[in-house]
């Protein structure tokens, strides 16, 4: 969730904020905020209600997730290291605050290899309105081999994968395309035969064959229209598709955008893609189309969150009904949380001191692990907060990888996704 989603407005229920709404907020320490100075206590503008067997309290803007809430493992005491979007986002995606490190998806691709020859192992579904902070650095392979970089797919776009098909051209026809590739293969094989002992030459021939296979399988994977209508409805797809009106931020459009990505993600996972990154929210342009609600939490969070919750709940139900949830792990995250006090009168500033993650599927036990304090300002137990390293270690653990052993030496350091930190969240993995 690019821009930093507000934990206290979604799933970290803090009745005290509503009780003291509008009164001065005093957490008993000096608070340094990103943009502003702390305003008054700011109660969540939506009601919280209990859901599931557990009675977990969820706000109205994530109500769709109520149906699957018992499968979710909430971690309400995640702490960040910075209140700066770019660094916070990199920390989530790569485990480091600086650019230049491989994305978690690249690590997983590197560790597990590809399950499908015809699709990339790591796929990224960015918000079509613009890339979040750091752009493609969030799915860069950095010092891992290039095949582990995230491949951007834009469902609903005329060209969902760059250069997947030949451009419109007066000299390219399906026949010339085919004949050209045949000729290329023949000549490249001849070149390789004259130069024995060089695997790269064979690999390059093979890469053109894979490319042709990818044209077919990617097209198939993205064919959302082939889904039955009850599935499309379940994900909340709009009849207008991505052309749905977005001139004023609204729930219908956000549901379509996020739901379509979730549905495509399921189709990709079914076909052997290892890791899918789904983004909600773009850069910090105007009008705001991300979660960075400095001005107006209600305006941005309601449609974004309802859209996200609708799609995410559909994905979980769908994976479950297909028996895929056992071996598919979902991690919901954002760069940091938002403050319990107001910024201006209706916004919230950044809160890197505590925020929420949740995990689901892949052997994760539902429940709540780790609490924030009465304000949702800091972890309740500051000495035992959860770090991004812990979450990454847990994700790798569930994929059968020891996070301390997945290393690559680069510039003389044995680099890991979890740097030199991280503990598997034992309670959650049973």
């Amino acid at each position: 969730m690019a821009g930093a989603a507000s934990h206290v407005d979604m799933w970290d229920h803090k009745p005290l904020l509503s009780q003291r709404d509008g009164q001065p907020w005093d957490p008993g320490e000096k608070v340094e905020l990103f943009q502003s100075t702390p305003g008054a206590c700011f109660g969540c503008p939506w009601a919280f209600k209990p859901y599931g067997r557990s009675g977990k309290m969820l706000s109205d803007i994530v109500a769709p997730l109520g149906a699957v809430v018992d499968d979710l493992a909430f971690v309400h005491n995640v702490v960040g290291k910075t209140g700066v979007h770019s660094q916070g986002t990199l920390l989530q995606t790569t485990g480091f605050q600086l650019p230049g490190f491989p994305s978690a998806g690249s690590w997983v691709s590197y560790a597990l290899g590809s399950e499908s020859d015809n699709l990339p192992s790591f796929v990224v579904l960015p918000d079509h309105r613009g890339l979040a902070s750091n752009g493609s650095k969030n799915w860069a392979n950095a010092f891992l081999p290039a095949q582990h970089q995230g491949t951007v797919i834009r469902p609903g776009n005329a060209e969902p994968i760059a250069d997947l098909h030949a451009p419109k051209s007066d000299f390219i026809s399906p026949a010339s395309d085919r004949a050209g590739l045949d000729l290329l293969g023949r000549l490249n094989r001849g070149y390789a035969q004259e130069r024995p002992g060089d695997d790269r030459l064979q690999a390059r021939i093979r890469s053109y064959e894979l490319a042709a296979a990818m044209q077919l399988s990617a097209t198939d994977a993205l064919d959302v229209a082939s889904e039955p209508s009850y599935i499309r409805d379940m994900y909340g797809l709009a009849s207008e598709g991505e052309g749905v009106d977005d001139t004023i931020i609204n729930t219908k459009a956000e549901t379509e955008f996020f739901g379509r990505k979730c549905l495509v993600a399921r189709r990709l996972l079914e076909r052997g893609v290892r890791f899918v990154q789904i983004w909600s929210g773009n850069d910090n342009g105007h009008p705001r189309r991300n979660w960075d609600s400095h001005e107006d939490v209600k305006r941005d969070h309601e449609p974004l969150s309802l859209g996200m919750a609708h799609g995410a709940a559909a994905l979980i139900k769908d994976l479950k009904q297909r028996g895929m949830l056992e071996d598919t792990l979902i991690l919901w995250t954002t760069e940091f949380g938002r403050m319990p006090c107001s910024q201006g009168s209706k916004g919230r500033d950044h809160n890197p001191f505590v925020f929420t993650n949740w995990l689901c599927g892949g052997g994760i036990q539902g429940g709540t692990y780790g609490e924030s304090d009465e304000w949702g300002f800091r972890p309740q137990d500051r000495a035992n907060a959860t770090s991004v390293y812990d979450v990454h270690a847990t994700v790798l653990h569930q994929l059968g990888i020891d996070h301390t052993k997945l290393t690559v030496r680069y510039n003389s350091i044995d680099r890991r996704l979890t740097d030199v930190h991280g503990h598997v969240l034992k309670g959650m993995v049973g």
Partner: protein, 975 residues
Amino acid sequence: MNWRYSLALLPWCIHAASPDFEKDVAPILEARCLSCHDESSAKGEVRLDTREQLLTSIRLGQPDDSELIKQISGSKPEMPKKAAPLKAHEVAILRQWIASGATWPEQRVLKDNPPRDLKWWSLKPISKRDVKNSSTNPVDDFINAKLAEKGLKPVGEVDSITLIRRLTYDLTGLPPTPDEVEAFAESNSTNTYVATVERLLASPAFGEKWAQHWLDLARYGETHGYDKDKPRPNAWPYRDYVIRSFNEDKSYPQFVQEQIAGDALYPGQPDGILGLGFLAAGPWDYIGHSEVGEGKVDGRIAKHLDRDEMISAVFNVFTSTTVQCAQCHHHKFDPVRMEDYYRLHAVFAAVDRADRVYRGLKPEQEKERTALQGQINGLRAEQTKLQAEAKSELSARTSGIERRLEELRKKHASPLLPQYGYHSSISKKQDEVKWVQVDLGRAQEIEQVRLIPAFDTYNNIGAGFGFPVRYKVEASLDAAFQQGVRLVRDATNQDQSNPRSTDVLIDVGGDDARYIRITATRLAPRKDDYIFALGEVEVSGGENHDNIAKGCAVSSLDSIESGPRWGRSNLTDSIFHRELNDPVALAELRQLEAQKTEIETSLKNPQREARLKILGEQLGKLNSQLKTFPKGEVIYAATTDFTAQGAFKPTAGQPRPIHLLNRGDIRSPRALMHPGMTPLWPGAVAEFALPARAPESSARAELAKAIASAENPLLWRSMVNRLWLWTFSQPLVGTPNDFGRMGMQPTHPELLDYLAARLRDDPQHSLKSIIRLLVTSQAYRRASDHDESNAQIDSNNAYLWRANRRRLTAEEFRDSVLTVSGMMNLERRGGPSFQDFIIEKPQHSPHYEYALHDPEDAASHRRSIYRFVVRSQPQPLLTTLDCADPSQSVPYRDESTTALQALTQWNNRLVEVMSRHFAERLQQAPDVVTQACQLALGRTPTEAEKAALNEHLRTYGSASLARVIFNLNAFVYLD
């Protein structure tokens, strides 16, 4: 040898006095164990830094049963990992100490304290060797000796057509022309080869190719990266500087010095400033610096990381040393201590990354301008601080009220009707008197006058628009208000607070009257002028207490009569704006507004307001003064003086205080650090001796001189290894940015030292002369043929029994496609970069849209080195082909092979467009296929190729043929 045996050998230990903790025991533990077993690392959850922790690893009095002793003794001790075992006497001391009860002074905590061990190949002085055989190229002496030693037989010399293609690409990054190939093949002699090498080294394309290698290292990009990824329009002069430095064959140590401290060491010379583009070339956290700033922890972290980025670049690139590993603890493998690392922070403590002038401004002008800029920055900082203070004081107390107000307004909003009310002419003076009056038609009894303030969205003024600051209300029977005037409200003696949306009620009573006049004696202020406006006047009277003013005639001293909003008749039309349509809500609104006003008044600080006014005036004056200076030519570089941007302010040469940071944490500062570095070679100093009040740049100058000194073995070894890599596509030391213990060792240490000494001892320190030496060797001119028996011994060709076949780099591929198709404009050298994207939404976070760029755009038909390098959205074609990531120093390119590459090379629009142009170029050719191969592959086609290509040409045309050729292995690989 097991421990029992060693014990028997050293009986004196048992009987000797118990070892002294401080003298004997602590130094061993601190030097050999604590780097992994202190509080911060605790590898294997073992700690040895306190007695309590140690006790979990030993049994008191029982060395034999102590895990610690088990781990460090035996024939192959488990510990220390990745380091030499402890010496026998050290083990004996620890045994003895445990046996005698392991005394440990109360509260003593051990700290990692590794010895500064310089015994490592890269840190030793360069050994200078004489070359045995003066008739051959010395490179071959070393290479051949190693081949013989390994039992490898070099393959023969490559054919001249392959050689000219290889050499031309390696030295210029471009394909040879068919004429060049032909001329070279015809007169194949050593002289021709040498002449060709000279021609290529002298060609401007040489610098364009070799600068790319350097820019990869320098992490050069033209946007900031991170959040928003704003462009850096003035980064390119550094790129041109690097190209020119390679072409001019600048002395290498000078090149290095210019890039660390050119301003101090080459004052008055543009290259002294241009070189500083290196320090600034990497990513920069715009938000962390300019929106957060060093007043906050996050801003200080950003600044710390920013310096770390600079320091890492300097040491990784110039000395192949990973100093950055000593940020949180001493370097685990190399002799770099935390103090060393933080001394480097002190060296760079005053510089930031910003635009600075390198030419076109006289030194005295620059001084003046800098001073002026400093003054402006100071005043602006004060202004920002005062404004923020005022704002935050207010918002801390009113944010709850604001939210409720907003809610009320949203819920009970009533539309703003176009008939606003009466509006006087605009006056330049506030104390002009203006009046407006209502004629009730006849004399009658008046109970009350109600003044309803106007409402206008202009300048966000809203309620109370134009309501006078001082005014009076009078009643009379005389239209001219000369006789029988009754004053019913006098508010002329002091300024009135604006009633905003509250009606002003005035009881009248008494004698009958016909006219009601409202006179403003002090007008309402707007931005630069003054007015008087009212929304409505109601007069209640008569039997039914109705509004008897409704529809009555209105006259006034003046009126702007700007319909439909403002007109005299609007004052009595019964149309006026009510902020809320619900009276209860309106009452609450008024109450809240009153509260807010009260808070605002209570927080008013006249001193602050007066100061802000003065600041605004002064800034205006200074800014217009600043505009009188010539702009000069500007580069984005390391600097201490620049225009402040938000919270990002220059140090004006005053270094920030630098502390050693416990565990690298900005919140745990320890000792204050002085400028210095890590003494990695004999004679290198740790702390610089700087005169008191030395300018900031003198610390950088000291560092630059030390790094670029003849005594620094790393400098010379590092660079010749890179030159070797860039010539042979494979380095002598496999980790070019790391010559430390985690790096690789040289395959040819003597050769490396020979070349290093040669570069060092050459008075010109000429890089070209080293490159010349390398490319004229036999080793360089070998074929790339496979040989099974050699491959059995050395499959990776580490010893160079053949040449390395390599793929064109991303830039070489693009440049070749443009060149071969005849569209490349080689003459447009230098200057601002071409952009092969369209920028959308530039105001906030620019979107760099490559897909929207037209590949036919002639401005982009330049060499790839002149491309505008974006960090967040890298060029898709070049990135897929493994071009360098500008976020980090990239010593060598990957050569990956992926399906996405195939898709890109086959389907990319640039390739499609250039295929068509290539076809046009071939139109006049007598033999299309032969000429196509000569241009693209540097050779004529074989018969089989010719037949196959001709067949495709006949059926699908020359453009489709060109597309195939651009994808051939024969095009993308160099033998």
